[in-house]
Symmetry: C2
Amino acid sequence: MAGADRVEVLAFDVFGTVVDWYGSIAREVDALGLDVDGGEFALAWRAGYKPAMQRVQSGELGWTHLDDLHRGILDQLLERFAITSLSEADKRHLNRVWHRLDPWPDAVEGLTRLKRRFTLCTLSNGNLGLLTNMAKRAGLPWDCILSAEVFRQYKPHPDTYLGVADVFDVPPAAVMMVAAHQEDLDSARCHGLRTAYIERPHEFGMAASKDVSGALDNDLHAASLVGLAERLGC
Amino acid sequence: MAGADRVEVLAFDVFGTVVDWYGSIAREVDALGLDVDGGEFALAWRAGYKPAMQRVQSGELGWTHLDDLHRGILDQLLERFAITSLSEADKRHLNRVWHRLDPWPDAVEGLTRLKRRFTLCTLSNGNLGLLTNMAKRAGLPWDCILSAEVFRQYKPHPDTYLGVADVFDVPPAAVMMVAAHQEDLDSARCHGLRTAYIERPHEFGMAASKDVSGALDNDLHAASLVGLAERLGC
């Protein structure tokens, strides 16, 4: 890749790119023995994410941790699915499933190899506590956890992408955004970052089909984080 | 310690508590072969730190990375010590010595042991990039790097201490501030945090004497971070 030798920082999207939110939530919800399909519940919870963030981005809500947005969506889902058997403690525990997401099988090895040569940070809309608890449980070896919470803006606000370059005092082109979502990479590129697309065909479950072709103008394209490490010579 | 079983997060002061700023800077300045004593230079640089932060705290300066405050102090010192031999690249490199501070000999082992049981974060006035580069070079195994930069206030502003509790969604008493500076611990206690004093008798050099008795109302007192791990059963 032209210019890859100048990349110093890899900034990772987390939900879907590094961890398997669908499978983790589906398994935990199924294990609760509620009268609902865990996979359907996971998809519905995630579907509430963008509209909830939009309420913050529009100014309707002040700055809000993603944990609290998740809880608001959860309460609506419990009502929609007519689930009444959970205590307040149960609901609090279930809401923290987002702290307990399992990494994709290649994530820890890929990150460990990439860490030898690059500074690795998260750039996620997840809050710092969520991302820290997730990393500690899953063994994700971040050098630094960055979040919308640091910049007080959710992706795709420019302050988030440019904020990574500012934190590390490097030009935007020295930062490579790594994500399984083309729109995240498109926003990053728009602000001068390099981009790497990671294929996660099962992000929405084994049954769902996801287009993982990625755009031609991504700087790199890899089937996994181990694949990314190989492409970058780590 | 009463209540130690409820502590979940250890928040560490960094300069002086985890890393040896005096020795690291003195060695690097001495190695430059300038006509100045490295130890004297280190002390003068550090002495400019509180007045520079005060300019931010008072509103005279907007939010400023510690890297930039350090550079302003460095430029004054070079003039005061009549050092004219450094190029702009040399000055930039020297200013980043704060990213290259060596840990105290007990720090990596102590943190590694404490990490098994607690969430470990920094709570430093150093900026995120500085703290990340330092941790990567020195092998400091933080779970999360928190900084004045996250809260847009320098310690001892309440937003910094209470900010740690907010990030991890725990009561202030579930956070223990760990520092070699009594005033940092006094501020933390004032906002409900637990406190652990670490003795660093040589923070200002082998020749200087530092009172390391600590206040009686600290929750814990240890001679090192390994000692803290032992006190906390890690």
